[in-house]
């Protein structure tokens, strides 16, 4: 895949164990490489992967026009508490805001007499109050005292902080005070100091969460900025001259400069890439409603794409326990930026199966990790994992895997016998089946969170299953929801990295401005949107692509504390526009809560998202003429499906199956880095893009 006019795209997805690099081009070519992640400095693995891939395809680094990075750096810095020493400045009377916190105790923790509250990210010695106060309408109640501001700035500078986060009460309604304080801090601190205000980061009402979002930017910003600058230098030595872009948490791509300025926006970068990948597959096959199901080594993540856009949450906690099972986000630091609505459960290939003291079988959340890994790897692991179960069931092929790992079913059987089959009085196959089923149940709960609990009926959706382990579980999981169509993307093991090179540039802005819905002034609303859209465009890297604007309004019934985010038309704002918004709100309210409510409504916050479409990877379909019969299977082996065991199940190599191939389940299709399981209830077909499409055969139909 090389031609002079061809332009190249690189996608880099850094995970805990592997760094996946994707090289794609304008003619639809794509190749991937997996290298080990280098935890001391992730940039080494990144550069190594890129260099190897470019060399393998003899690509001139200068013809790479785009490099999109998916990174867990922000999350890691926060969880490992290795951010910058920062100072926090707030309004007089509220210096304890961060340490008072919100402190929600999860169910188990509420019975813990010895519970501990998480340490605030800023010590009291670097927390400062300025004399000022603004009210909810943006009026100044207590003006700033410039002498006191100077004094505080001097104290901040003298505190040893290298970065400062400023969050004053109601700054979303009147940012001027924050700007004055920021200016004073910049003047007092060294030029390299990182100064950030809440009204710049995310001007939304609710001071604790806005402050925490701002604090997290200051905490991570200098690290992110250094990382990206260093990466740029390293890539330049490879001859790559294009700017670096970073996947942000809501599925758009931002410039490296903005990622350094607002690093908290990258906090779910990797998860977003997966959902974007699923949405991309949906676009290829012309499907509007997609469930993204990404099952890796330690967790499974699931999200929803509707109308080509991932569903978004505005209620995210960094390092929180997550929303799986429906529990509210609790631990961790709340941040208010838009994040793809993911439910994550501790069920991956490496998740450990165990029988609890009451005799119930559990899977996860503990994982064997990559070392020692599942028992079947023979690297010293003795605990039974989901991968061991899948090996015993016959889904995985015994013997060598890619990456120098080898699978030994005897070791897996031994582990399952000891941990599960013995205690439950099952045979080993039955126990393996049970582990597989319980993992599926836990992943089904995650899918339920992002669909049914949000008022979405999943039955009409297509499930896109990927990640190393996803394609083994996808068909059965879909069936529990009555989903009849499942797609396993080509290169399913690195689908998230492919997702990176399919994303457009995007920027989100918000402003809280409370107003009654019925008397809101359309001109004022129009002015707010115009301002937000100007800000967003200014944040986007340049380019020729067209701009796509979308708007939304947070609406609630007067007296409520929670609001729903409702899409708003992008037409010039009139009274009619606002009525459309409130009508949508009423409908969405009913969908979400099942309640027919009436009553006065309130507009709370206004949101704009601007997308710049760019040239990107677009695979070329292979023409398909009529169904193609499958080749001879490469092997047969005994495979245990739900409810039936097949002694001689056909096994195919994915690379042997050309577009148009159709085959009846049961069958196993082995790819380079993943294995697809087509249960007896499903047909499999290869589509024009090389994806495996699994279709549920209606019960009663003869196969």
């Amino acid at each position: 895949m090389s031609a002079d006019s061809t332009r190249w795209f690189l996608g880099v997805d850094v995970g805990g164990t592997f760094t996946d690099v994707v090289l794609a081009d304008t003619r639809g070519g794509v190749d991937v490489i997996k290298v080990r992640t280098t935890p001391e400095d992730q940039r080494e693995g990144v550069a190594e992967g890129i260099a190897a891939l470019l060399a393998a395809h003899r690509v001139d680094p200068g013809s790479v026009v785009r490099l999109v990075h998916g990174t867990t750096l922000a999350t890691n810095v926060i969880l490992e508490q290795r951010g910058t020493d920062i100072a926090f400045v707030t309004s007089r009377g509220f210096g304890d805001m961060l340490r008072l916190g919100r402190e929600f105790r999860q169910e188990d923790e509420r019975f813990d007499l010895f519970f501990r509250t998480p340490a605030p990210p800023v010590p009291q010695s670097r927390t400062f109050e300025v004399n000022e106060r603004i009210d909810a309408a943006g009026r100044v109640l207590v003006p700033l005292d410039s002498a006191q501001v100077e004094a505080v700035a001097a104290e901040v500078a003298g505190s040893g902080a290298a970065a400062v986060a400023i969050c004053l009460l109601h700054a979303y309604a009147h940012p001027a005070h924050e700007e004055v304080v920021a200016e004073a801090c910049r003047a007092a601190m060294p030029e390299t100091a990182y100064v950030v205000t809440s009204s710049e980061v995310w001007p939304e009402m609710r001071e604790y969460e806005r402050a925490m979002t701002t604090v997290m930017c200051a905490y991570v910003g200098p690290v992110m900025s250094g990382y990206l600058a260093g990466l740029g230098t390293r890539l330049e030595t490879l001859g790559i001259r294009c700017p670096i872009e970073v996947m942000e948490s809501s599925g758009g791509v931002m410039s490296a400069a903005l990622a350094a300025r607002r690093p908290i926006a990258t906090v779910e970068s990797g998860g977003a890439a997966g959902v974007i990948a699923a949405g991309f597959v949906g676009r290829l096959i012309d499907v509007d409603e997609v469930i993204s199901f990404d099952m890796g080594g330690t967790t499974a993540k699931t999200g929803v794409v509707r109308g080509g856009r991932p569903d978004i949450t505005h209620d995210f906690h960094v390092g929180g326990i997550g929303s799986a099972g429906g529990a509210r986000p609790g631990s961790g630091y709340p941040v208010k930026i838009p994040v793809v609505d993911l439910a994550e459960v501790g069920a991956g290939g490496g998740s450990i199966a165990w029988v609890d003291p009451g005799g119930a079988l559990r899977v996860g959340p503990r994982s064997s990790g990559s070392v020692p890994g599942p028992a079947g790897y023979g690297l010293g692991g003795t605990e039974a994992t989901v991968t061991d179960a899948n090996l015993v069931l016959g889904y995985l092929r015994p013997g060598n895997l890619s990456g120098g790992v080898s699978l030994d079913p005897e070791l897996s059987e031994k582990a399952i016998q000891q941990a599960v089959a013995g205690p439950l009085g099952l045979d080993v196959t039955g126990a393996a089946r049970a582990i597989h089923d319980v993992a599926n149940a836990s992943m089904a709960a995650a899918i339920r969170v992002v669909t049914v609990q949000r008022g979405i009926d999943p039955r009409s959706f297509t499930l896109v299953g990927f990640g190393g382990a996803g394609p083994m579980h996808a068909a059965e999981l879909a069936e529990t929801f009555g989903i009849t169509s499942v797609v396993i993307p080509r290169a399913a093991g690195v689908a998230s990295a492919v997702g990176l090179v399919t994303a457009d540039l995007a920027a989100d802005r918000i402003l809280t401005r409370l107003m009654p819905a019925d008397t809101a002034d359309p001109a004022e609303v129009a002015a707010i949107f115009a301002r937000l859209e100007d800000q967003a465009v200014a944040e986007l890297p340049g380019g020729d692509g067209g701009l796509v604007v979308s708007r939304a309004v947070d609406v609630r019934f007067r007296g409520q504390a929670h609001q729903l985010t409702v899409p708003a038309p992008t037409e010039p704002v009139t009274r009619q526009t606002l009525e459309t918004v409130t009508a949508t709100f009423i409908r969405q309210y009913h969908e979400t809560y099942g309640i027919e409510m009436e009553g006065p409504q309130e507009l709370v916050s206004f949101r704009a998202r601007v997308l710049r479409t760019v040239e990107k990877f677009a695979p070329v379909p292979h023409p398909v003429e009529g169904p193609v019969a499958p080749p001879e299977p490469t092997a047969h082996r005994t495979v245990a499906f739900a409810g039936s065991v097949m002694d001689s199940c056909p096994v195919y190599l994915w690379s042997d199956l050309g577009p148009g191939t159709r085959l009846a389940g049961p069958a196993i299709i082995e790819g380079v880095d993943t294995t697809v399981v087509a249960p007896p209830s499903h047909h499999a077909a290869i589509d024009p893009w090389g994806n495996v499409v699994l279709t549920r055969v209606p019960p009663g139909t003869s196969t």
């Binding site: 019975f111 009210d135 909810a136 099972g325 049970a434 149940a441 409510m597 039936s644």
Partner: protein
């Protein structure tokens, strides 16, 4: 070669498949009740529950057994819906119920807590019989009574606490019972909010009904009921196993309540906790007679406290279902603080049930000394109400927490107490409050030196200053203020909280811990300071580095209590 099994993934009845389906069904039940509580909380209209504080969602069976409870359920309501359904079933026979019926009850003498906590229960049918009940509960905005927001801190009987609903039909066969809704609406100071809250409750039980229908379709009613039995047995077995690990014996604990706001005396809550081989009996013999004030704890509420305290000594991951009640027995003397006779008022029961919790924790820590804790401060509640310029009434129920008591080996967390209550996540943030109400919050800060000094220090209380922008009426209910939370094993008590009004003219008025309808004018500042938690161990034994950190972080400004000679200082 296919060996097809009937009915898909989970229909076999073998012991093995039971164990497997168990986890799957357990998950589905948990999700059903969780969904219900999310719907209730997110769609409710009262600001105090919108943050998830005072709410519950549960699934029960037709025999009144608790099957599953939402994780979001306040621990304060661990036993509430179960008690409520059991009372209802004494008055309403199952064959009086039809599909689409929805019942409500809020009577503290029929399994309820107080007038403002409305319980809604919906029967779920399968094969023409009631099999389950979906239940939801929230603290609604206002049910009438002598004080706004159900905060009749000086109420002398239930009649002063608001309209009581014996079990009534809110819906009959899917149709709203307008009579009952009309009565609720007519008797509330916030009719719109209350109706919104009741709708939210109904939406919640409807979710549970829908999910149970789906599960019945998938597994069949017989299999589902068998799974539920299994799930309850599992919890019962596990809690008995855990109780076996606590040394058997008879342990006593007591806690003294400083005031009920109306009588000139204190009230002792006394427990004898008898740990047997695999069960526990909590005997409240010796507890004070019921109070003429509002601090009595109904049976339902007392049970929640008992269950909570004991769960602190067993593995908390044991599912909260009927199995947990199986091994726990109570002796509740009739006419006492923990089992009052009608019409004693119950709205202020938090102080009593938390006293019961402290007494049980104290008793059990004699069996398990390394789990000893000093007493915590409580939630301090207030309501403010006034008129908007357009004449519409505004009302706000708010609270703040006190410090948690020191633990054996650890300081108490700040401003999150008591254990039995929520964390601060239930406290609205400043900005949204100010956006809705005519007030400005001038300060919200930890109170230095309020944590009870000790080898392990109590958690700090918090001070909040609220300046009114227009006239209003204030009602307060504070506990453990006159006698702040005592220390344990040589630790000092926490700093006492208070309520005060700083008048615009400059005068300061001190309020009683319980006071109703205090008039405020524009410019007046309401000051609420919560108590700190008790300390544990002699202050002189505090490690110097711990004291140094307290001084650096501003938790201690005056090190005098720690200055006496002690191990660490020598």
């Amino acid at each position: 070669m296919h060996e097809d099994r009937e009915g898909g993934e989970a229909a076999s009845a073998s012991a093995a498949s039971l164990a497997i389906t168990a986890e799957i069904v357990r998950n589905a039940l948990a999700v059903a009740v969780e969904e219900a509580s999310i719907v209730v909380v997110r769609s409710s209209h009262s600001s105090n529950i919108q943050e998830g504080a005072d709410a519950a969602g549960a699934l029960l069976d037709a025999g009144g057994r608790l099957v599953a409870q939402s994780a979001a359920t306040s621990v304060m309501h661990s036993a509430s819906l179960r008690s409520g359904l059991r009372s209802i079933l004494q008055e309403i026979a199952l064959d009086e119920l039809r599909p689409g019926d929805v019942l409500a009850c809020n009577d503290p003498y029929r399994g309820g807590i107080h007038a403002n906590d409305i319980m809604v229960l919906r029967p779920v049918f399968a094969e023409d019989r009631v099999r389950w009940f979906g239940g939801t509960l929230i603290h609604v905005a206002d049910m009438g009574g002598s004080a706004v927001g159900g905060l009749g801190s000086l109420a002398g009987d239930t009649y002063a606490e608001g309209v009581l609903l014996p079990p009534v039909w809110l819906y009959r066969e899917g149709k709203p019972n307008r009579d009952v809704l009309g009565i609720i609406e007519r008797n509330s100071r916030a009719p719109g909010k209350v109706v919104g809250d009741v709708q939210a409750l109904v939406a919640g039980v409807n979710v549970i009904a829908r999910r149970m229908d789906e599960l019945t379709q998938r597994y069949g009613i017989d299999e589902l009921e068998r799974q539920v039995d299994h799930f309850i047995d599992y919890a019962a077995r596990r809690i008995r196993d855990e109780i076996r690990r606590i040394p058997a014996g008879s342990y006593r604990g007591s806690f003294t309540i400083d005031t009920d706001g109306v009588s000139d005396r204190t009230f002792d809550i006394v427990t004898t906790v008898n740990v047997g081989d695999a069960d526990i009996t909590v005997d409240f013999g010796g507890t004070a007679d019921q109070s003429p004030g509002a601090i009595n704890s109904s049976v339902s509420q007392t049970l929640s406290g008992v269950l909570y305290a004991i769960r602190c000594f067993v593995d908390p991951s044991i599912p909260m279902n009927e199995g947990c009640f199986d091994a726990i027995h109570t002796v509740l003397p009739p006419g006492s603080m923990v089992n009052p006779n009608p019409p004693a008022a119950c709205g202020g029961r938090v102080v009593t049930v938390t006293a019961a919790v402290e007494a049980i924790l104290q008793a059990l820590s004699q069996a398990v000394p390394d789990r000893a804790v000093a007493a915590s401060a409580l939630i301090h509640v207030y309501t403010l109400t006034g008129l908007h310029p357009d004449g519409e009434r505004w009302l706000s129920l708010g609270y703040e927490f006190g410090g948690i008591g020191a633990r054996h080996g650890a300081d108490g967390p700040d401003a999150t107490g008591a254990y039995f209550l929520g964390g601060r996540s239930v406290i609205p943030q400043i900005e949204p409050l100010e956006a809705q109400l005519p007030l400005v919050i001038e300060r919200c800060a930890l109170v230095a030196d309020s944590g009870g000094p000790g080898q392990w220090r109590g958690g700090l209380g918090v001070e909040m200053r609220i300046r009114l922008e227009s006239s209003a009426q204030l009602t307060v209910r504070g506990d453990r203020m006159g006698m702040p939370p005592p220390g344990a094993h040589g630790g000092w008590p926490g700093g006492a909280g208070h309520f005060a009004i700083e008048r615009a003219g400059g005068a300061t008025e001190w309020l009683n811990p319980k006071q109703q309808h205090v008039p405020l004018e524009a410019g007046d500042v309401f000051v609420m300071r919560t108590s700190g938690g008790g300390g544990m161990g002699p202050p002189a034994d505090r490690l110097p580095e711990a004291l140094a950190e307290d001084l650096a972080e501003g938790r201690v400004s005056d090190p005098a209590p720690y200055a006496a000679t002690g191990r660490a200082a020598s």
